[in-house]
Subunit: 411 residues, 2 copies
């Protein structure tokens, strides 16, 4: 059987994640990887979770081993309502505004499916979180890319672009803007309060939904939290995505959508077709954990660990890259990532082969574009390597950059 002619347009278009391909070698001995954005498994409260897993499987088997509802565990929803108040000061959320998904990735996919057609316009940031890009791309939609600055999305650019598209008669195709306002993946930047307020205004004006994704918000190293877009714009304007992947464990695969009841209802119908339900066992384990333990108290040592590693990486970057003119990075106030931009002639994808030789791995900026365009940036993740590896890794990276720069006549 010849497969290609049988595939759908999407089937033909699909390609494997660049990151997976790139990181195949990162586990070879002697390698140092700044690639993976996964949390350190030693930060997971495994003893507590193991105990709870046993309990809820044994005693609550009629729920945990049976089909779940599509919207997910009511107990977890009650815990979530408390958590939203504690995290964001949001108090207007009820059960109808909540649906749990198989990780945030499924939330992105379901939202994309209910909103995006081929001729829709979906606004994303550059660089864009690649999981979001891969979900949205499956609808074969149109993208408009809005650049990020050190304090978040470039609103002037966004407004000008909207004006332009509106003049072209495309206002009816506007759907949503996807944004990661806190400790952006991959850019590490956080949207300023002023920009948050302006963003709501602009989206109100053009009737654009804001899809706010906040997986890292609780991983703050310093300073005060800024109000979420959801708090500022309300459910009339904002759909909020959250997840337990970065604050508890990604293995449970629990994402959550907070939004207007009619939107949540549509997501529910799409989820019925997509997987019927996510496992109740996992949701009940997390619900019980939240009931018994203070998740933020648990998180403190992990945040302290990440902060120290981040400081080490920033210091290493200062020591190694300050002398290369045109190099730029932002010291993140939370999260897991630093976005290192080299002088614009650098192609970090091409440079990756040299990095591989020196056994230092990063994610080329190209992976965070919608259309695989060349990039002089790279994502560096500091959460998994040790501090020694971070220092050694940045030194290796410097050697790669110098070698590549010289070979290309760039430095």
């Amino acid at each position: 059987m010849e497969l290609e002619s049988k595939l759908s347009e999407l089937g033909k278009n699909l390609k494997s994640s660049l990151i997976r391909e790139l990181l195949k070698f990162a586990s070879l001995p002697g390698s140092i990887s700044f690639g993976g954005g996964v949390p350190d498994p030693d930060t997971f409260p495994r003893h507590e979770l193991a105990q709870i897993a046993q309990e809820v499987t044994e005693k609550e088997y009629k729920y945990t081993l049976q089909y779940n509802t599509t919207e997910g565990d009511d107990e977890l929803a009650q815990q979530m309502i408390k958590l939203l108040e504690r995290t964001y000061g949001i108090t207007d959320v009820s059960r109808d505004n909540i649906i749990f998904t198989t990780g945030s990735q499924q939330a992105l996919d379901l939202i994309a499916r209910i909103f995006l057609d081929k001729d829709s316009i979906c606004f994303v940031e550059y660089p864009v979180y690649l999981g979001a890009a891969s979900a949205f791309r499956m609808t074969l939609t149109q993208f408009e890319t809005i650049p990020l600055e050190d304090d978040g999305i470039n609103i002037d650019y966004f407004e000008k672009k909207l004006e332009e598209l509106d003049k072209e008669g495309k206002r009816k195709n506007f759907r949503f803007l996807y944004t990661v306002p806190n400790f952006h993946n991959p850019a590490g930047v956080t949207m300023s309060l002023e920009k948050r307020k302006r963003l709501i205004e602009v989206c109100n004006k053009y009737d654009i939904i804001i899809l706010e994704d906040d997986p890292y918000g609780a991983l703050r190293f310093e300073g005060e939290s800024l109000p979420s877009l959801y708090s500022l714009g309300g459910p009339e304007r904002v759909v909020l995505l959250n997840t337990f992947s970065k604050i508890l464990t990604p293995g449970m695969r629990i994402g959550v959508i907070i939004g207007r009841a009619d939107i949540v209802r549509k997501v529910n119908m799409a989820k019925q077709g997509a997987d019927l339900c996510s496992p109740g066992l996992n949701q009940r384990i997390v619900a019980r954990y939240l009931e018994r333990y203070d998740i933020f108290a648990h998180l403190k040592p992990a945040i302290e660990l990440y902060r120290k590693k981040k400081d080490t990486m920033i210091k290493a970057l200062e020591e190694n890259f300050s002398d290369i003119e045109g190099t730029h990075w932002v010291n993140p106030t939370g999260g897991l990532f630093i976005w290192l931009t080299l002088p614009e002639e650098f192609d970090t994808m091409e440079m990756f082969d040299m990095a591989k030789e020196k056994k230092i791995y990063y994610i080329p900026g190209e992976a965070f574009t919608i259309d695989d365009s060349k990039s002089s940036s790279m994502r560096l993740s500091f959460c998994l390597p040790s501090e020694e590896q971070i220092i050694e890794g940045v030194e290796r990276l410097k050697k790669v950059v110098v070698e590549y720069g010289k070979k290309k006549g760039l430095i």
Copy 2:
């Protein structure tokens, strides 16, 4: 914000599952429900699963609490390879031919997404498993419905239909035929060996993929297993879906696709966008269970329980419905369902209101059509009610049928 104009074509088309709406009242006191097709939770090996859940969370946390791979747990894949040999005598399956999904429902959704466009032709049975219909419908594809007979799909009809469509120049739009060959949901029928062989021939001739869904195959009450379509047609022609939902626990949400490596690779890419990965915890629990216990030995009492309940329902149907001419049912040799067809003027959806009054619940045949057309059939599930409830429930059903029939002047 006005939602409707923002929704995608799919978003506008989505509707909630009829079953969910119908069964809202089935838990009222005094109700007897033949509606739900879920296994009896007391058949789940909860002690063993609870123990394993604790162990693998505590000791294997680096796998179970971390992100999983998209294709799923390698240990479960090894167990699956053994299980496929034991269940079907299939020996040519390797790791590249296997991907685990969030229940069979996600398998149906991902397969639909990589194969179906709006102008594709997707062949389904009537009645059709409604989870499949809801997944396939999300692609907005075209359907052709092939009636079921007591020994499976009507192959003569199928062949004639293909010939017709081919003459209309639509051969290039043929994608797959979805079939549940064993103990069909909802029809309860099993495809004969002769038909299995002919089906392969016909699909070879017209180059149509067979999507074989076999969730109930292991729940056989009597007789010998028939060879699977996958065994007969091989991976060149057949993609096989399986699940642990009916033989172990649905709560783990573990489905599996067995197919050609290039098809599995495409599914993998779609799954990366759809949810990145299913939880490794659940997969490892099941892998360890399969390693330690004989799943078929565990299943024996459950099958015996279902068989007895099925016998009770068949006997009750004979006692109550033999005198209503034009009524038809098949005594299933396995599975969870009996398909009761009333004389053709009956509309089981309309009759449902009367059934509700008598607190007896079934699923109207309309739920198992692609286009919500009227049906004189209903699905009766015998797995959850007690034998006493089955006897009492069938008597109530008889009263409903007589009352409805008289009111409509049908009997």
